[in-house]
Every structure is written in C-alpha cells, then in structure tokens.
C-alpha cells in the first residue's frame, strides 16, 4: 500500500453517508458534550437515539438524562450548564413549545446550551411534517437561531454553535434548525473532521457560572427587582440592566458568528456565505429571492430556470435568523430593485415573518426595493420549483402595476379540489 493510497483511505473514512439527525449527533459526539437531556419527538428522535448508541459504545463519555418531558429536558440542561458542563439537546415542534418557559431562563442566565431543532409544524391540525413555524415562534426569547440547508451544514454549524455560544464575550444559548424529514431523515455525504482538529477549534468550556465550585457560593437567579440594589455587600443590577446586557450580547454576537465562521473556513475549508446568509447569483441580479432552509434549496433550482427566461434573479438564503442581521441585509439590499420573500411560516394575523421583518429592516433605505412575500409549504406541503417561479412572476407583475400589499398570498393551495367539500368541516366562516 502506497502512502498516497493510505491518505485517500483516511479521507474516505471521514466521509460518511448520514441523515441530518445523525450529522447533528456526530457533532455532539465530537464536541464532547458532557450532559445531554432529551425526550423523544418526531422527527428529532434519531438524534438522541444515535447519542444513546455513542454513549453505550463508549464513543461519548456524556451523561444522558432521559427525562419525562421536554420541559424537564431543558430544565436539566439549564441546571447542568449552571453546574459547569457543556450541554445540549434536540427537539421538534411541540417539544420546543413545551420547553418555552425554560428558553428565556437559559438566555437570561447566559447558559451556552445548544438545541438541535428538526423543524415541524404546530398542531392543530396534527402534523408531523416540516415547516418553520416552531423555529420562528421562539424568536423573542434571546437565543441565537441558525437554520441549515444540508447535512454537512448541520454538522459544521453545530461545531461553530458551541464555540459561538461559549465565547466569553457573549455566553448565549443557540438553536441549530433543519427541516424535518427533508434533512432530518435524508442521507447525504458528510465529512467528519478529525477529533484532534476539532479539539483545537473547540477547547473545553470555561463557564462564567459553576455551581460545582462549592467554595464560590452563589445564589443564581433569585428574584430581581426593577431597580438596581445597593447594599453593604455591593451593588447588583436590576432586571432592566440584565435584559439590556442580553440584548447587547445578541447584537455583539453577529461579529463573533462571522469570526468563528471564518476561523472554521480557514481550518476546515468549508464556508456558508458570510456565516449569516448565503448568496447565489446575486452579483448581476436586480431581483432577489429571500428565504431560508428547505425553501432556499428549492429556490436554487428555480433561479436557474428563471435565468433561462432572461430574468436576472439571485438568491439570499438566511442562515442566521436571530440576532436578526438587519444592518448586513440593509447593506446588501441597498442597490437591489425587487425582493421576493418565501416564508414557510406565518405570523398569523399578519404575514410571513421573513417578509415583514425584511420590510422593517429596509425601512429608511434611500432607494427601497420592492418587496412581496408569499407563504409556501406549511405542514409539509411540497414546495415545488414551479411555485417559486410563479411567485416571482406574480410579484414582478404586481410591482410593474404598482401594487403593494401586506395581504398574504399562499402558493400551492388546492382550494379548487375542495369546492364540493363542506367548508365548515375544515374551517369556519370561509
């Protein structure tokens, strides 16, 4: 066997065909997570099944607390993080909603916990298929929120997420999301990096809280008053100051996210745009599709077809949803003419969240681009290339006519097929 063959063999061994869920589990293993706590839910469950397997095979020396609910899962994670361990979990949809109370507890205490979220729609009606509703409903709790487009990105983003979350300049929890089934259960080649290299990239956690150091007595998270408290023992911030610090940490995290992304690229040779959004064919484009996750993957195909029609269309796939990178997006979109937003979520009673947030972010630009939003693929309805293409045509047509509206526009609905159906059985009022 020659040396070159041997090298190739090692490389081949490092590439595994993995589902998105297993890519996340491998990242946890290689990040040497110390405490994991989770509760099963579709389509996330294979993440924690794989972790249980790693632990039983001795490939991961973690404590896995198999709790009786997601609420407890995140409560275990918070307490274990406060005791000084690197911790993480995974969940979906109702599991994330059930964790809700603990989400601001983690961010308020600045606990660098990582959640993997295999996205899934929220009931009712009951559904196990993907959309981004679970991901967007937690946008105001103070977590960093990433969303991925392929399984390599899930693995890479997890490794980066630990480093970002544990950065002493911020200490924030983070969510790494990916579409349920579309990524969670689909196998793709994923390059796993050597453990030594990962250890160099991601050193052990040096936490700002450590209950296990019993010589350093602390009361973590007692009742905190509206105002600053001054007493003989010293001055303590009020709730308002704590929450200001959380907001500042989130604002500051954008640069750290870019920094860690660059470091990862230098070390491992893979990058995802600038670490906060990815672009495709945007240089000469005057029309940009703006979306995230599985919808962005579909849009990659759609823009190729649209270009054959002579339309100069590009894509911005948002990777960092929180903190919202408003300044970067404002800079990017300042010279663009048209933006068409596809939301696999909806701010019920208003419009798609990506759509209205982008409109707000671009307010104040001298030459504001035209923006129109569409809703697609709720509850796992297929998002087809033709839906995206029709959306682009529809939007460009509306812009030409000067029609601008916040009214929601659902693509891929099949109301025609239901015309003989008693409406009252699926919605009231019509």
């Amino acid at each position: 066997m020659t040396v070159s063959n041997e090298k190739e063999k090692v490389t081949n061994e490092n590439i595994m065909i993995l589902t998105g869920n297993h890519a996340a589990a491998h990242a946890f293993r290689q990040a040497k997570v110390g405490v994991i706590s989770a509760y099963p839910i579709t389509p996330q469950s294979p993440v924690v099944e794989k972790i249980a397997e790693f632990i039983s095979e001795g490939k991961l020396k973690a404590r896995f607390v198999k709790v009786e609910s997601e609420h407890s899962a995140l409560a275990v994670c918070c307490a274990a993080s406060a005791t000084g361990s690197r911790v993480g979990t995974a969940t979906s949809a109702h599991g994330l909603e059930y964790m809700y109370e603990m989400l601001p507890w983690a961010s308020g205490n600045r606990l660098p916990i990582i959640i993997n979220l295999a996205t899934r729609s929220l009931g009712a009606p009951w559904s196990v298929w993907t959309d981004h509703q679970d991901f967007i409903t937690i946008r105001d709790v103070g977590w960093i929120q990433f969303i991925c487009e392929n399984n390599q990105e899930i693995y890479d983003t997890n490794l980066q997420a630990f480093k970002i979350a544990e950065d002493p300049r911020i200490f924030l929890p983070a969510i790494v999301a990916y579409d349920g089934y579309i990524l969670s259960h689909t196998m793709m080649p994923v390059k796993l990096e050597n453990q030594e290299e990962i250890d160099g990239f991601l050193p052990p956690l040096k936490h700002h809280i450590n209950l296990s150091d019993i010589s350093n007595v602390k009361g973590i998270d007692p009742v905190t008053t509206p105002n600053i408290i001054k007493r003989a023992e010293g001055t303590a911030p009020g709730y308002y100051e704590y929450r200001y610090a959380l907001q500042k940490a989130l604002e500051n995290s954008i640069n750290i996210i870019k920094e860690v992304h660059d470091e990862f690229f230098k070390k491992f040779g893979r990058s995802y745009g600038n670490g906060i959004y990815k672009t495709v064919d945007t240089n000469d484009a005057n029309t940009i599709i703006f979306t995230m996750g599985s919808v962005a993957s579909q849009a990659r195909i759609a823009i190729k077809k649209l270009r054959t029609e002579g339309l100069k269309v590009g894509l911005v796939s948002l990777k960092l949803f929180r903190p919202y990178p408003a300044e970067d997006l404002r800079e990017f979109f300042k010279d663009k003419e048209n933006i068409i937003v596809f939301d696999r979520d909806i701010g019920y009673g208003y419009e798609g969240v990506l759509s209205y947030e982008l409109k707000a972010a671009l307010y104040g630009l001298k030459n504001r681009p035209n923006i129109k939003g569409f809703i697609v693929g709720l509850g796992g309805r297929d998002v087809k290339t033709e839906h995206i293409i029709s959306g682009v045509h529809k939007a460009l047509d509306a812009f030409k006519k000067g029609i601008f509206t916040n009214k929601t526009d659902f693509l891929g609905l099949n109301l025609e097929e239901l015309k003989d159906y008693d409406e009252s059985t699926y919605f009231k009022g019509g």
Partner: protein, 300 residues
C-alpha cells in the same frame, strides 16, 4: 436519637432573612442545612423559600442555590447531579431540592416523579404549608379538607394528596415525613438520607402563621398538636420497611391521641368546618392509623 448538643454550631443561613415571623419552613431549612453541611448544592423553585432567599446580588445562605422555574425542581436537581457526575465530583457533593407543597404535589409532581423513577441521587424535601402561601394563600393539592383559602372561601373539598405514598410507589430507598416542631427528628433523618444512594423524599409539615391563622409564637405548639392528635404521623420507609418515628410512636394507641378538635380549633383556616367534617377527620385519622398498625404488624 441525637440531642440538641449534637447539632453543629455552624449556621448556614445568614440572619435577617425575609421569611415571616414564626415560619416553619425557615426552621426546617436551617436544620436541613446543618445536617447536610457545606458540601451541598440547593435548588429551589418559586416558593416561600424564594422569599427567604431575598433579592438579587446576595445569597442568604453559605451554600450555593440555583433558583429554577416552578415545575422543574426534580429536573433541575437531575441536571446538577448529571453535571457533577460528568465532572467526577459525584461522591462529594449532596444535591438538595427544596420545594413547597404546590411545587411538589401539583406543578412539580411530573419532574419529581421522573427524577425518582430514574433513581437520581438527591434529596427532595417538600415543606408543606398546605397551600400556595407565597402568592396569597390559594388552595393546593396538599390543602386538607375544609380549609378556607382565598380560592376555597367555603372550604376545600377532599383530603390532601398523600404524596409520601406516591413517592413510596416509585420504589425509592428512603421516604420520610417530618415536621418543624421536632427538629432533632428532622436533623437525624437528613443526616441519614445524606448517606443513602438514590432518591430520598422528605415530606415535612410546615405550620404557617399567616396562612393557617394563628400567632407566630405558636408554630411549635401547632406542629406538635398535628403529631399529638395523630393528624400527621412521623415515619420513615427505608427500602420498603415502615418505621414509626419516635415522636409518633405512642400514638399507635388511639387513647393516647389528643382529640383532633384541639388541632383544628386553634387555626382560623378551619373556622368553617362543620360537625360532619370534624367526624370525617376522625375517620380519616383512624383509618390512617389502622393502615399503619396493619403495616407494622405485617412486618413483624
């Protein structure tokens, strides 16, 4: 049996806490920390103990305390324990979860049941003041029959939940009842529990002057009456074996028990009890002791 000279002089709670005058819980907490010592981490949900611990920037104890949302005490203790295991510090440090009756029997029961089922190595102490006292005396699953609270102005329907029995059904190695009026009994039990591996459950009755309606000076008296009337038997269940605790042992004989009216009549919360309800109490106490008697006999 320990005597008062055996109690460590070291106090783990700083003076001047925000607990009410005559608080049974403050006494229980003081004794528990004396028994467990400095190598302890405490976790506390929303409760009167949160009030005792006071406001930000200062810890009222010489032991670290992690405050956790209402429903999560059992999970929070599990997380601390898991992290200690992860760090190889497991043997040295005791994890104490200290929750009120609402945080134990109502909103906290799921996380506690999960932690017990997993055999988590920790002590869960429920201090039971028999209502949501910290939020203004609303009824809980641990409020006794006929008690007036702000949400049961005409008296609570049904008896309190028998939480020690529920925990016993989990097959954990140690379950005990206690009361603030017998601190030496409590001290001994906490000492014992510290050396037992697995989940240890304490259900400790905690008289509450504002919530129960009596003078703060009477906390010890009221608690003793709870034991002397047979309403609150003190016992341990160690690996399934039932042991009546010394302060309660003579009340196995019904003639030694004081009439339940002596306990009920000195508290304003029982003011609206009917004669029929008092009869129900007598039956309740008799049945409870019959069961204890049978159990002790079956072990002989």
């Amino acid at each position: 049996m320990v005597n008062v000279m055996d109690l460590p002089e070291e106090e783990y709670i700083y003076p001047g806490t925000r607990a009410c005058a005559g608080c049974g819980m403050a006494l229980i907490y003081r004794i528990a920390l004396k028994a467990l010592g400095s190598k302890t981490i405490v976790t506390v949900p929303a409760s009167c103990l949160t009030v005792l611990h006071g406001m930000q920037g200062f810890c009222s104890t010489k032991i670290s305390v992690y405050h956790t949302p209402f429903a999560t005490t059992g999970a929070s203790a599990s997380g601390i324990r898991a992290s200690l295991e992860d760090k190889g510090l497991d043997e040295e440090i005791c994890v104490l979860a200290f929750a009120g009756d609402g945080g134990t029997t109502d909103i906290g029961i799921q996380a506690l049941s999960g932690a017990a089922e997993r055999g988590t190595n920790f002590i869960f102490a429920c201090y039971d003041n028999e209502a949501y006292m910290n939020t203004g005396v609303q009824r809980s699953g641990s409020t006794p029959l006929g008690v007036r609270t702000t949400t049961t102005p005409e008296g609570k329907l049904g008896h309190k939940k028998n939480m020690p029995k529920i925990l016993e059904a989990h097959g954990i190695p140690y379950v005990t009842t206690g009361i603030s009026s017998y601190p030496l009994d409590l001290f001994e039990k906490f000492k014992k529990a510290r050396d037992i591996f697995g989940t240890k459950y304490f259900h400790i009755l905690s008289p509450c002057p504002p919530g129960w309606g009596y003078e703060p000076k009477d906390t010890i008296l009221i608690g003793r009456l709870a034991v002397q009337t047979g309403f609150w038997p003190l016992y341990e269940v160690i690996n399934g074996k039932f042991i009546l605790s010394k302060p309660s042992s003579k009340y196995l004989d019904p003639s030694k028990r004081k009439p339940i009216e002596e306990y009920l009549s000195v508290q304003k919360r029982f003011k609206t009890l009917s004669a029929q309800e008092i009869e129900i109490y007598k039956t309740y106490i008799n049945d409870m002791w019959q069961e204890i008697k049978k159990r002790i006999e079956s072990q002989e």
